[in-house]
């Protein structure tokens, strides 16, 4: 028994006979792959060469099929949920909408948001940020600040073209953060609400229900197995959902 000497052992250990481990239910040896005669003769290589040749010819005669994105001229179409450079939104009069509640700074895991608040002349608004700075080098673009903002004052754009030459440039203030909002709507990214999605999303909700309804109807009609056989635990009656996960 390979027991190390223990300090302050209170009592002697009963000797345990070192039992032979029971036979494992899994292999104790390996069975490597065996090459067939064709493989020994390198015959399958022809098939591999045909694959590369096919790709080569297809790309040669159908340049449009090529997947490369010619980046500076052509851009990949990211979705409107992209988490890029931050934007501070503005009120209709052009002032910053932020009320300096510090929720974003609190929610930020990187602690990269620095806010200094001051009294707003308008009594209804109470506070506004004199300084609102984001350290772009610290930021991990997780979107927590957007989730946390109760005013929709900070959102994100889909702008990923960011590069800095020195550290002074990387702490972006209010002016830089408000500037992107003058761009068009196509540049908006991660936000709490996506008005452009609403119509499609409503359709998705309808379809989601209808699909499950259809499945249930089909199940009630005998002889028409519309649900996969494995989904033997069907959606519980009254609930349009597939089986809930184990609690």
């Amino acid at each position: 028994m390979n027991t190390a000497p223990m300090p302050q052992a209170p009592q002697a250990l009963p000797a345990i006979p070192a039992a032979e481990p029971p036979p494992a239910p899994y292999p104790t040896t390996t069975r490597p792959y065996r090459q067939s005669m064709a493989e020994r003769l390198y015959l399958p290589l022809v098939g591999g060469l045909m694959v590369t040749l096919r790709h080569f010819l297809l790309n040669l005669f159908h340049p449009g099929r090529m997947l490369t994105i010619e980046y500076p001229e052509e851009r990949r179409s990211y979705s409107h949920r992209f988490r890029g450079h931050h934007i501070l939104t503005t009120r209709p009069d052009g002032s910053v909408r932020c009320v300096a509640c510090y929720l974003c700074a609190q929610a930020c895991p990187a602690e990269c948001i620095h806010i200094e608040a001051a009294e707003h002349p308008d009594v209804n608004i109470e506070k506004y940020p004199v300084v609102y700075e984001i350290d772009m080098l610290r930021c991990v673009f997780c979107g927590y600040c957007v989730d946390a903002c109760p005013e929709e004052a900070i959102i994100m754009s889909n702008n990923y073209d960011m590069a800095y030459f020195n550290r002074d440039q990387t702490i972006v203030g209010k002016a830089d953060l408000m500037k992107p909002y003058t761009f068009d709507d196509g540049q908006l990214g991660y936000r709490p609400r996506y008005p452009e999605e609403e119509a499609e999303r409503a359709k998705m909700r309808r379809e989601a229900f209808s699909l499950v309804e259809a499945a249930r109807r089909a199940r009630q009609e005998p002889g028409v197995p519309a649900v996969p056989a494995a989904a033997s635990a069907p959606p519980a009656a009254g609930s349009p959902a597939p089986p809930a996960p184990p609690p």
């Binding site: 080098l137 991990v140 990923y160």
Partner: protein, 181 residues
């Protein structure tokens, strides 16, 4: 080149040669991917077919510091890795540039922790910071394009490298004991 200037006394040779050199260097960065973490995966995306970094003359990815001129630090550099990074930077031949890709390499990101360096500029100079966690391949390529511009602007880059070395010699190792939080 300075020798050429000194012997001929004419400036136009130097300028033209520098322009030629700039031009050739701008369009053939050979990166050394010092990839450690998530950013290295995005770097792999950048060199694969969708983005194809080869379009910028950077298809020769070299893992040898002697053969590369852009050190592309992609990923978290911690205190254990810092001496390695420093050594590799020192082994690179001038002229050389450093791109710091991603939040971790730029500033430590959200790892304000006992084993993570708070930005690689604690030990080596950085030319271009690319924020993002990780940056998209486009973001990285934008950084490389910005570096191109910088090469043109950096008229005194040969002197700059010497300056950096001199500065490095003169300044003490930064006190890593208590990073400001």
């Amino acid at each position: 080149m300075k020798a050429v200037t000194a012997t001929t006394g004419e400036s136009w040779i130097t300028t033209t040669f520098e322009k030629l050199e700039d031009w050739s260097q701008r369009f053939s960065f050979w990166p050394f991917p010092f990839g450690t973490a998530c950013c290295a995966i995005e770097f792999m995306s950048t060199v694969s077919s969708h983005y194809d970094l080869a379009r910028f003359g950077s298809e020769v990815v070299r893992f040898s510091p002697r053969q590369s001129d852009v050190l592309l630090v992609a990923g978290t550099i911690n205190d254990k890795m810092a001496p390695v990074l420093k050594k590799i930077y020192d082994q690179m031949a001038d002229p050389k540039w450093v791109i710091s890709m991603g939040a971790c390499a730029c500033s430590g990101g959200f790892y304000r922790a006992y084993h993570v360096m708070q930005g690689i500029d604690e030990v080596i100079p950085v030319d271009v910071y690319v924020p993002g966690c990780p940056p998209t391949p486009e973001g990285l390529m934008y950084g490389i394009l910005q570096l191109r511009e910088k090469v043109v602007r950096d008229r005194e880059r040969l002197g700059r490298a010497a300056d950096a070395r001199a500065k490095e010699r003169s300044s003490e190792q930064p006190d890593l004991g208590a990073p400001e939080i």
